[in-house]
Amino acid sequence: MAREQWGSRVGFILAAVGSALGLGNIWRFPGVAYENGGGAFLVPYLVALCTAGIPLLILEFTIGRRYRGSAPVAFRRIHRNAEFLGWWQVAIAIVIGVYYAVIISWAAWFAYFSIGQQWGEDPETFLMAEFLQAGDLYDFGTWLPGLGIALALVWVATLAVIGAGVKKGIEATSKVFIPLLILLFGALVVQSLTLDGAVDGLNAFFTPDWDAIRGPQVWLAAYSQIFFTLSVGFGIMVTYGSYLKRKSDITTSAWTVGMSNSFGEILAGIAVFAVLGFLAFETGVPIDEQSYQGVGLAFIAFPAIINTLPYLAGLFGVLFFLSLVVAGFASLISVVEVPVAAVEDRFGWSRRKSAAIVGGGMALVSVALFPTVNGLMLLDVTDYFINNYGIAVAAPASIIAVVWVLWKWKELRDNANATSVFKVGPIWVTCLGVVTPLALTIILFLNVRDLVTAGPDSANAAYHEYQAFGWAVAGGSLAFALIMALLLRRKETPPFMTEEEARDAEEAAR
């Protein structure tokens, strides 16, 4: 059966940009930049984009297109013993998809709460005590129907898009959602810049601290940000690359996706710090004492800001939270596509069957576990471990396997260059084979050290306390991968044609 392909290059790029542009762009990048030298952070950030982000995108697009399969099939076709790397990436995507959908459902509720500022005068108490009824990680028992129904709707929409296929589902949705996101976010940026104190916020965000970038920590933060923001390392870009047409320009597409993502992040920084400047102006609380990252920024600081807006407060809230919903939804689709496509490819299931069983299974776990009083803690601990000890281990392992162990870089370089305007050469291989694995390994080492030595008052205290659960999640993804690869060891993938054979077969079919 012919593999489904993107209908157009624009459709592919919008889908890949939709995957990369997610919640992390809006609520992680501005805070990371602010903490790591402000405007000066942009120097290591852009270096990391060019030496790790874009080279990795090129590699993953090329693997997908060259081996015409989702992650497990592509890695199996690279080498029989490499299939577990693909399943490892699938396992990580499953874990991320299960909790990522939850945040989208919260954002949808908050878009509704924005009308009339239904969170009241104290957004923090509203979020923690009323909306989430947040409790301890092991505090099982209470399922919250309001959260559960919204989450179920997010999953129904996601599976409907994926079940419709690559062209009619993912591509068609991306063509609507990405322009919508640009519109929503553009309006948000413009409105935020009109606020009193916005200039002070931008000043805090962009004023460079050149001393900061002399230390290694800021450079590692930049590589970490680039790595986690581009949706690389867990099968998405390999899967999306597998739907590319044979003559697609890979390097220019990767460049476009990387630059679009960074442009979105910088705009997010402008919007977030303009409104934080406004809050500082209104309340007299300095920016560095406010919640400027993560759940605290989105669901506590922003509602507090909306409460103090002099005009169009409800509209501002709707714009912000709908931006989160749209950005998150496009990313969630790409995450869930990874396991759905993997099972479809490897077991020969139809797309609808795979979407219903694999995606439906993820939805059931998500809806059962997360709309609960321990949902926030469960999400936070899972997110920390699967990112820092799942992706951050699986990705360098995959790169080292492909570039060093299996020595496939020449074949992949030639494949990318054959159809691309900009050719890649020794610099690409050096960035991929040396710079990226080295940076990721150092980041991993520092994260492990910070976790193991975390004191009760440190930022990692909660992760330290619940590390048995966290390690089980991160280690479980590798165990799942090894079991799948062993079970499927004797099951060959469908016949894989060389490019010439594929061309001949397509011509014969016309």
């Binding site: 962009f206 004023t207 460079p208 320009d249």
Partner: protein, 36 residues
């Protein structure tokens, strides 16, 4: 805003926005083959 902040704001928009425009122009100038 301080001069340093304005400089970094302008540079970041120019570098990233410029990179994005350049890649878009390259894609437009090299239309995808119809063969596939």
């Amino acid at each position: 805003m301080s001069a340093g902040a304005i400089t970094m704001l302008v540079i970041s928009i120019l570098v990233v926005g410029g990179g994005l425009v350049a890649s878009a122009i390259t894609l437009i100038r090299n239309p995808e083959s119809e063969e596939d």
